[in-house]
């Protein structure tokens, strides 16, 4: 068996230099995805005319098409229609693509989470004179957030892994770097295993964070 453990350990410092970029992509895309997803969920939940149909088409399209196709559509396709998009760099395109795709998934998660909050909560808010906006902000969204966290967390873990697709647009991120080092050293197994371990560790750290958050948020609901 031909496995160079020492080499594998040596590549970690180089790979870890690319961790911040991966994290930035994932976190920025997640923030946009949450914002757009929440908007979509509110539109579909409240059946806002016209917007509701548009939102459904958006959700359906971006859930049903491969992420890679979406990224190419944005990065290589859009500048053809709108020349001003050619100024967009690959990293921006990747973040936009990942935001859009994950917003469609989060929209469904958020809507289910909103549905799981009993309508009596909204009625109770209105009955004490709150506006609907106040009701959502103070009572409904916090309860929905707790319901949404497990599934949203899975989406985020998926998103972290999907950032590796950015290499196809030419973004020099973690996986792209691994690929480059592998072609130089020809130690494919060591490099890709190291890359995999970095993603794995990232997911483990994130899961711990989420567990802590879930515990905090579920305090009011524990008997």
């Amino acid at each position: 068996m031909n496995f160079d453990g020492k080499y594998m350990l040596e590549v970690f410092p180089t790979l870890l230099k690319y961790l911040p970029l991966t994290l930035v992509m994932a976190v920025v895309a997640m923030i946009f995805a949450i914002a757009i997803g929440l908007l979509l969920a509110l539109v579909t939940k409240n059946r806002v005319p016209v917007l509701y149909q548009l939102a459904n088409v958006y959700i359906s399209f971006f859930r049903a098409t491969p992420t890679l196709v979406q990224l190419f559509l944005i990065y290589y396709g859009l500048p053809q229609l709108f020349p001003s998009f050619s100024a967009m760099n690959a990293l921006t395109a990747a973040i936009i693509g990942l935001s859009i795709k994950n917003s469609a998934y989060l929209a469904e998660i958020f809507r289910a989470a909103l549905d799981s909050v009993d309508n009596g909560q909204l009625e109770a808010c209105l009955a004490v004179g709150m506006t609907k906006a106040q009701a959502y902000r103070r009572i409904i969204l916090p309860q929905a957030a707790r319901n949404a966290i497990p599934a949203s967390g899975n989406t985020f873990i998926g998103l972290v892994k999907e950032t590796s697709l950015a290499f196809t647009l030419g973004v020099a991120e973690l996986f792209a770097q691994g690929k480059m080092m592998a072609s130089a050293s020809l130690k494919f197994f060591e490099i890709y295993l190291a890359v995999a371990i970095v993603y794995w560790a990232l997911t483990i750290v994130y899961s711990l964070l989420q567990e802590w958050l879930e515990k905090r948020l579920s305090k009011p609901y524990k008997n």
Binding site: A127, M130, I139, P220
Partner: protein, 250 residues
């Protein structure tokens, strides 16, 4: 003061409120009784626009509203005249007992936290739950939750409190503590509209009883008039049915 004129509501083809007229004086306690499905809940829910009426005029306190056309602002204004106590409490699950009571003070009345807490604690004291101020709803019994809900309604300092079967979801042994609290509030001359199946309680606390059936007010009067000398055959039949659980045995 509450004045309702020719209130109408239907769900699809089902006429649920068929021209309701009600006047409730300041400080009056009115109990609404009637068979299930007669429109009692819908009536209360139209008064704070949780259901939107199809026609009619609603006047409560400072607010007047003509259905079915009204602005969001008018709706909000009308809602602020009342508070509601729901059958299944509907306490804010992510708020402690105290926060349930103070939420409206802080959010809609823009009161300072310290001031709101003071009022909130006094109201919890009034319903006998000062010691549960920091408990979340899930840790409270049904009776305790409903008492918090009553304190929450009082905090709004409304012109009238609407109570929709406030004890129907409670285990029998918890009913008394809630009725006790409502009775104490009634004695302070708080305007109240109470839908209830607790006839003995209605008789005790209400100044007037309204009997509803099929979306109409069939008969109304003082408790003595309505319970002892009902005039309408519908009322007589209803009162007989509820006082004769014998059909249960046979």
């Amino acid at each position: 003061m509450i004045k309702v004129t020719n209130l109408r509501k239907q769900f699809n083809d089902l006429v649920v409120l068929d021209g309701i007229d009600i006047e409730v004086a300041q400080g009056e306690v009115v109990a609404i009784i009637g068979p299930s499905g007669s429109g009692k809940s819908t009536l209360l829910r139209c008064l704070n626009l949780l259901e939107s009426p199809d026609a009619g005029r609603i006047e409560i306190g400072q607010a007047t509203l003509d259905a079915p056309k009204y602005s969001r602002k008018q709706a909000h204004h009308l809602r602020q005249q009342t508070a509601m106590v729901f059958q299944n409490y509907n306490l804010f699950k992510n708020r402690t007992a105290l926060q349930n009571v103070t939420e409206s003070l802080i959010i809609t009345k823009k009161m300072k936290q310290s001031e709101a807490d003071k009022i909130g604690r006094a109201l919890l004291e009034q319903v006998g739950l000062a010691h549960k101020a920091d408990s979340y709803p899930i840790t409270l019994s049904g009776g305790q939750q409903q008492r918090v809900a009553i304190a929450r309604a009082l905090a709004v300092d409304p012109h009238a409190i609407l109570l929709d079967e406030p004890t129907s979801a409670l285990d029998p042994e918890l009913v008394a503590e809630v009725l006790q609290v409502i009775k104490a509030i009634a004695e302070k001359r708080t305007t109240m509209l109470i839908v209830t199946h607790e006839m003995a309680f209605a008789r005790q606390v209400a100044d007037r009883i309204i009997f509803m059936a099929d979306g109409k007010i069939v008969e109304q009067g003082t408790p003595d008039e309505l319970f002892d000398r009902p005039q309408n055959p519908r009322t007589q039949r209803f009162l007989q049915q509820i006082s004769a659980p014998a059909s249960f045995i046979s």
